[in-house]
């Protein structure tokens, strides 16, 4: 196992970054920063451990630092997001666009957990290691994220998407 294996994970890192950030270019920048760090710090990777989990953990750290740095910018972007038109009768045919927006409106901690579990199909333990939080935290974020998505999409009330935090 050597660092060339990193290359094989690039498509998955891109998928996660795209889902996390919504924007293609911002996502690829995140992937690039992650790869740079992973490549230069490969000596920190413990042979035999899960390379994917390690790469996702690095991406999480890069992402969190970016969020911290650009918090104001991001909050501003979220305020500009249109409120999703909620149609309770059409819950059977969730529109992809609506789901994408509802996802974007989740607090980033919940969005990360939901994506690692639902899209990346990590186990709860893997997600806990990638995000460096206890499993209990993974479960509570997952629970809150799913429920918030459901309410936004299912029309319990017309919850405006900018209502984050």
């Amino acid at each position: 196992m050597d660092r060339q294996h990193i290359v094989e994970h690039i498509p998955r890192l891109r998928r996660y970054a795209r889902a996390l950030l919504g924007d293609r270019y911002a996502a690829d920048d995140l992937v690039q920063d992650t790869l740079e760090r992973a490549w230069n710090k490969f000596y920190l990777w413990r042979p035999g451990s899960d390379l994917r989990a390690w790469l996702f953990a690095i991406m999480h750290n890069v992402f969190v630092n970016q969020v911290r740095r650009h918090r104001n910018e991001i909050e501003q972007t979220m305020e500009e997001l249109p409120v999703v038109a909620v149609r309770a009768t059409q819950i059977e045919q969730l529109e992809l666009r609506d789901v994408d927006r509802a996802l974007g409106a989740l607090p980033s901690e919940q969005r990360e957990v939901l994506l690692l579990i639902a899209v990346e199909q990590m186990t709860y333990g893997e997600a806990s290691r990638a995000l460096d939080v206890p499993i209990g935290t993974v479960m509570s974020r997952l629970s809150r994220g799913r429920e918030r998505m459901r309410q936004v999409l299912g029309g319990q009330a017309a919850v405006p998407l900018k209502a984050v935090k």
């Binding site: 660092r3 060339q4 498509p11 891109r14 969730l94 789901v99 639902a118 799913r146 999409l153």
Partner: protein, 247 residues
Amino acid sequence: MTMVTESDLHAYVDGVLPERARAEVEDWLAAHPDETERLRAYREQNAVLRSLFNPVLEEPVPASLFRPIARAGWRRYALAAGVFVVGIALGWIMRSALPSPAAPSPSLARQAAIAHAVYAPEVRHPVEVAADQEDHLVKWLSKRVGTELKNPNLHALGYELVGGRLLSGPQGPVAQFMYQDARGQRLTLYVARQRGERRDTAFRYSQEERVSVFYWVDGSFGYALSGEIGRSQLLEVADAVYKQLNP
């Protein structure tokens, strides 16, 4: 009735509960229709999120993403053979990132060709387990990939098994077998579980820069034979591989 926790319900949605706990949750749900509806919505979220973002896996990777690797690799490992290997993979991948008039090559062929480009030029470590431990190799890869693998015998065509290695692909573990002829020409056979219930057994051909790939899907597994040889020569081998796997 047993206590069912919120975590159990999520584990149920994600299909990770053991059999017995699943049955318990189902019994509990039978008495809680509102909760059934809630979990159905969560499952639908999983499905929609996957269908939204899985297509990213099929997109060609922009060449810019390889810059940190190329730069860092070159600076720190200029003398290591690894750079040569990565260089070949990069050359290939960057090429594939350019717009092409032809239809985009399906991911199975692309992944197999990348894996071929990365490992076939390796001088010292082309495989993880060498052919002298063939039985162990096949058993190990079968166990990891989750199906009983057969490694074809290509002796009649002049190719001998070098060995194999375990790779990681979008659907989990992938097996790669490597063969070599007397001149050192290498072929790799890539076996990966496929998503969904596609059962396409037709041969397809893809030319990825210098790597030719014949690939096909058989049941829930995809097979791809890659090599830097001509299409008709590779087809002859692919045909033999296919026949041995489907006697």
